[in-house]
Amino acid sequence: MYHGVNPKAFLSTVTGFHLMTAYTATVTIRLKHGVLDPEAETTRRALERLGFDLEDLRSADRFEIDLEAEDAGEATERVDEMAQRLLANPTIHDYDVEVDER
């Protein structure tokens, strides 16, 4: 056993074969601050009608994406591009991406 060597990186270097890790990326998409959210507003009013006391309510879309990547950085990069190109609309949305090993 060679100390200080990441066995996965070592294998990948000597064999040219990249070991992939399974990740789940969670993309959360919110409306930008200041963009009206009529659905959230309607939901807030409905909760109040049910007798709940609340100050505000914001809604967000969440996507969970399973993928295999060499490392968390690569997984994040790929999912970030998915969010930019389709899942979010940059005109009205902000988003964040979280990646966890599966």
Binding site: L36, P38, E39, E41, L86, L87, N89, T91, I92
Partner: protein
């Protein structure tokens, strides 16, 4: 000239558009998006409907169809392109025009006649009108609220890229006359070129004289003018 009316899964105003263009003696053909644009396409209409069930966001899925690459290329070459309702949403989602059409302020689907003020009369789509003219055109949408940053909207306004605004019968821009909460009552905008326009209201539904109101004719006639 032949106007290609691009049909996506879930388009439903494609035949209305075809009939309206035929009435104006503008040659038009419905084109399935997977087949691509036919040779000799001299105009492109993105019709209304609910492409892909409005999944994700209205227009988001259709905007990813490969035909939209061809449409963007044609836009750059000056081919006249008109997006109506869902076609307007596809236009914004695909970057032909700026901004986004999103959930109505009422959070409801709204189907009603509205008044539009013509903001520019020197584009192919509005030459038939005078600046400040008021036309009556129906809307039918749940996601028609025009949204964009305040700074960018100001720039578009300065550049004269706002084509139509919701107004009263007398042409006043009031909140009451704004059916969906659109910023600055914007109902339709131009792309980088005046030959590209999108609007949420349906001019093709007020083109056939049998229906009574023909206020929308001038908009569709833009295909002929832009081609000339």
């Amino acid at each position: 000239m032949t106007v290609a009316i691009v049909r996506f899964g879930g388009s439903n105003c494609d035949r209305d558009a075809e009939r309206a263009l035929e009435h104006l003696e503008i040659d038009a053909e419905i084109v399935w998006h997977e087949d691509g644009l036919p040779d000799g396409t001299t105009g492109i209409m993105l019709p209304g409907g609910f492409s892909y069930g409005d999944y994700l966001r209205a227009g988001a899925m259709a905007a990813q169809s490969p035909i939209m690459d061809e449409v963007r290329e044609a836009a750059g070459e000056g081919v006249p392109i008109l997006g109506v309702c869902n076609g307007a949403q596809v236009g914004c989602e695909s970057g032909l025009t700026e901004g986004a059409f999103t959930t109505n302020e009422s959070a409801r689907f709204q189907c009603e006649p509205v008044y539009l003020r013509v903001e520019r009369a020197d584009t192919p789509w509005t030459e038939r009108y005078e600046e400040g003219d008021v036309i009556e055109v129906p809307i039918a949408h749940g996601e028609g609220r025009y949204e964009i940053t305040d700074e960018r909207l100001e720039e578009l306004e300065d550049d004269g890229r706002i084509l139509f605004r919701y107004c009263t019968e007398d042409g006043e821009l009031t909140d009451e006359a704004n059916p969906n909460g659109s910023k600055h009552n914007v109902a339709g905008v131009l792309g980088d070129r005046e030959t590209v326009a999108v609007l949420m209201p349906h001019p093709e539904r007020v083109t056939l004289p049998d229906i009574g109101n023909t206020d929308g004719q001038g908009v569709l006639e833009g295909f002929e003018r832009a081609d000339a």
